[in-house]
Subunit: 336 residues, 2 copies
């Protein structure tokens, strides 16, 4: 049953934009589950922008990877050997594992996966960490009110597409920034965004916002940073809230990036800007997942994943995040 | 009784750093109070950094001055003629008037001044708008908790010196940035700041902060912006709060200033940054003034004013704000 076990490990710290040099594949004996653990055959693994932070040598919110460490992230897989009463062979689970054919998970840290609710990749997206990030980041940090215009950057990504749909369910006008006409069409035609701006098709984001958000911006959910964010800040309404979820435009910067100063722009609107980490909401993950599942089942929230096939292509899938290759959640299919 | 009445008016919009060219003095008939109004002989008038915003042609939180308008601001003075039952000639009042020997105030918009509580200039400082700004900005926006390290920029100014003292009363460690050894000595020796940094005596604000705030920064109350603020952000602790009260370093900028991007620095600490305007708290001004008066009377909060003599020197007093000439509140004595 356990055939070859391949595992990606962290081979070299990148400087600036990461390349394949940071990744290396090795053969390893399949790991042995200990008491309370599960041996899981990985079906899908998740690649996420925040992983770039783990490639740095400096402490951040996510523990840095040491060179030689197996790469880690969210996985969905099938239990092939259980040392826990909670699960048995054949069960589908999701948790935090390694970029490998087989991974060992603590039964206490996994959640069951119900393939009738949604396809397996959804458990790494709308029903996983990105969905919970969208849920708490929007509802707890940005606090949208009916009638607010909510602007989302990275709107066609896993987090952004969920944020926009939750905002729409809350009676907001929703405007998304995304990087292709295919993405903006998905946002407006399928997900119900009121407007979407292809930031690769215009240089004048301010004018695009004047069209898309003529009443100004009540909430800005930022996954990106950089020039898009620079264009949004001068449009903030009184009492606007900005949730700083991600800054993918800056993850590969080796020095502190510079740009237009934003603090002077906060005084007149008395705007609030707040960073967020989904892990702060761990005690309420159950509530969020239940709500997100119900929205997915009812069709009120749609999910989409971009699937790259084969464990051997996991680094490519990760690197593609920085060029916006994905629509919705980017996952890697490891086994069928 | 009403002798000559001089009045400063706005002569020319400045570009960049304002000069005397923006100000002109004229003789005017003393104004006539109408029903419900008071004719007030001005004793002291206030010059404040926010007035630079009123010199711009663009709408901001404070209505722009038109060229030819009398300059306006807080005053303390003596009623010389009353068309209101609430006050009589000889009463001391404070309100928003003009830079003039005589000004007319609406009796509904003034507050009585009690010279036994504090000297008249204090009613333009700790017991006036700057004191209320400190009170609400610190307590409502920055929400200090006992044990927090609170860093204040512009700490020797009217707002900053009050912020630091209120933070001390709330059990915080208080660190101030100010622009001279005389100022920093006042902060630590007289006002009870735990540490003060003369930002004109060092270039390495980060190292100075490591010494003065070795446990990091829980609250940053920003009156200044620029390089001081740039040094504070990387020191923000988890759940830090930043109150953006003023950005005097940028008030004379004619284009949007650039600097290190701060949004990427907010995610790991989940920091909150919020702009504030004291006018939002108008319904609670009474509570704040009562509390501030009680602190002043008990000596728990000390106030200090820098007094420039003579209405003719009001523009100089204003321009001096941008070079940090004042310790505590800058006022102009108009009449004895």
């Amino acid at each position: 049953m356990r055939d070859s076990n391949r595992e990606w490990y962290f081979a070299e710290r990148p400087e600036g934009e990461p390349t394949m040099d940071s990744f290396a594949l090795r053969e390893r004996e399949p790991p042995e589950p200990r008491f309370g653990e599960l041996l899981v055959r990985v079906r899908y693994l998740s690649v996420d922008p925040y992983m770039r932070g783990r490639m740095r040598d400096s402490a951040s919110y996510a523990e840095p990877w040491a060179v030689g460490d197996p790469l880690q992230g969210g996985v969905v897989g099938e239990v092939v050997e259980s040392e826990s009463d909670a699960y048995e062979a054949g069960d589908l689970v999701t948790g935090r594992g390694t970029w490998a054919d087989y991974t060992v998970l603590d039964a206490d840290d996994v959640a069951p996966v119900d393939a009738d609710v949604a396809g397996l990749p959804a458990y790494l997206g709308v029903l996983g960490m990105p969905g919970r990030t969208a849920y708490f980041g929007l509802l707890d940090v940005a606090e949208p009110r009916p009638g607010d215009t909510v602007v989302v950057s990275g709107a066609a990504g896993a987090v952004g597409s969920t944020v926009g749909q939750i905002a729409g369910l809350n009676g907001c006008r929703v405007v998304g920034f995304a990087g292709s006409d295919e993405k903006t069409a998905w946002l407006t035609d399928d997900l119900g965004f009121d407007a979407a701006i292809n930031y690769k098709a215009t240089d004048d984001y301010g004018a695009a916002l004047d069209d898309a958000a003529p009443g100004g911006v009540g909430v800005y959910f930022d996954n990106v940073g950089g020039p898009i964010t620079d264009a949004v800040f001068p449009k903030l309404n009184v009492d606007a809230r900005v949730a700083v979820c991600g800054q993918i435009a800056h993850y590969n910067d080796e020095t502190v990036p510079t740009g237009p100063r934003k603090l002077p722009q906060l005084i007149a609107p008395r705007a609030r800007v707040e960073g967020l980490l989904v892990s702060d909401y761990a005690t309420r993950f159950g509530t969020a997942t239940e709500q997100l599942q119900s929205w997915v089942v009812s069709g009120e929230i749609q999910n989409r994943e971009t699937v790259v096939d084969g464990l051997e292509n996991a680094p490519d899938a990760f690197l593609g995040l920085f060029s916006g290759d994905n629509i919705g959640k980017q996952v890697v299919r490891v086994s069928a």
